[in-house]
Amino acid sequence: MSINGNYFAGVDVGSLAAKSVILKDGEIFATGLVPSGVNSVESGLNALNLALESAGLKQEDLTYIVGTGYGRVSAPYANKAVTEITCHAKGANYLHPTVRTIIDMGGQDCKAIRIDQDGAVVDFAMNDKCAAGTGRFLEVMAGVFKVELKDLGAIALSATDTVPMSSTCTVFAESETISLVARGEKPENILNGIHHSIANRIAGLFSRVGIESDVFFSGGVAKNSGMKSAIEQALKVTIVKPEIDPQLIGALGAAVIARNFSKKEGLWAA
């Protein structure tokens, strides 16, 4: 394996997971994904080390590292920090240059991002500070039904009806859900209602920034097939299929940006 300075890494430390992507010669070479702990420096390093191990590399083999996500502020291993909004834009553009709109649903926030043909952000909106419409919200709901988070989408898709969910506050939605169960509503129909309620809230975010095809769905919640379907219905769009784990898009974008920075700073010539 030639260590010639052509390795670039992106590390995305989110509230629920830390992710890393290593690029070699412009291609995805290795990835890492671990649950986030209390210490964001440690979480980022764990994700990076996982990717390094699978690639047979050491940290010093990397030419440039970009940190992103909420943990970007404490990433001493990174050469630069860039926001996840810019990184998701670059990551989606790297995979699909025709993408113009991104829905990013992570553990603690949700973002609507519009980008141009170069993957530069044109406009964006984020949910307010409450947990409605985020991975944390779905995690709470999975807890109410005592099911695995990963199974939530499939259960929602098996629904025969949609039970409307009026609460968007996580705490109120939890009590509303318990009331609906007590009323005899089927869990899959309630879960379907929850997914549609979140999707409608996301549609509100897009009323601020607009939608243009192609549409990409990134972040941990993008793995939820029920959420994808509900968003497609609410926004009246078809979401493009990602080739890699959608949870890695932020880290991928960070790695792409690391490559660009490196070139700009004269550390690497293509």
């Binding site: 909004i85 810019t86 926030d109 530069a120 952000v121 984020m126």
Partner: protein
Amino acid sequence: MSVKTLDVIRKRLEERPDELRRARENGLKVVGWVGYNVPEEIIHALGFIPVRIAIGGDDRLVEIGARYASSKTCVFIREIVGAFAENQDPYIQQTDILAFDATCLQNYRAAEVIEYFFKKDVVVLAVPRNFHLDEAKEYFAHEANEFTRLLEERAGAPLDSARLAESVALYNDIRKTLKSIYTFQASKDNVISWEEVYDLIQAGDLLDKREYLSLLTQTLDELKERQHHPVIASDDGDCRIFLSGSLIPRGDRKLIGIIRSVGGRIVGDDLWSGILPHLDLDIKEISPAGVALGYLNRTPHAALPYLDLESDRRLKKLQERLSEFKAQGVIYHTLRYCDPFTFKAKETKNVLAKSGIPLLEIHTEYAGSDYEAMKTRVEAFVEMIKIKSEIAEEQGVLVDA
């Protein structure tokens, strides 16, 4: 960036509460005012000491205020009410009379709550909703006379025309000097920052007006000595941000600090706690009605309804200022339950988008819990503008080549 007169002003602000206390012991009265259309010259000409009550950034006071005002009242007003409830603010402690205007109805509500719960002597100036109509101007002139009469009763003497003329001249000089200083902060190789000028403007809410004018003049002289010809240019490599929306009073520096920390440079504002109230005030007649109409004819406050976007003076003023200060993006600050500005965020964004100016709305309150989320938004906005500038620069290079 160290302007020596600013240190003098900071020192004078520390001494000011004690100075007010001594002035009151000598028989002078302090009028604390809150609002956008309060004609301060009238208060000054009647021999009162005017002090603007505008504080923010303290979530604890907001909670206290919510015990008296509705929790759906904007956080600024709740904090003001909370500060009156607690009575620890050195300026609130020194007020004898309060003057509120009803430009924003929440302001009016605060006057009622403060009068009812804290037994303060409150005078309210009514403000017409349809400010642009002739009938509204007639109504406001009448209300300004009534406002003056109520203050005259408290002053124990009628308003003297000559003293009003002196006050108007003094305030005009203050406004003129502030505008000159403001240009320096936005210039290339600036020696004074927008943040410093913003603090300087707010110092004028509290200091003695004659001394304030003298300190402003010294500041301007110092600036002219250090920077002969301030040039406002967009190619200085900065991410030039214009701040708009709900007021940012003294004590609230959360958003301003975030913008600076992520590499943004504020180059202008149209906040009613900033330069805006000092712009375009043309007093044509020395009388209470003349002064009040000068106030009403300025750029209108967002709380006054106006639905025709094409002729909206507020939006027109914003566009003029963006062009003058060569701003690359607008951060539109809205406070929780500050409906006038929050409701106008979308239309303002749409209007500016037509001229290629991006707008980021930051909706916040005085709690610190949204700090990181705010920082991410502002940082991404700054990144967006910087990337846009880099692309434009690269394309410019290609075109030039």
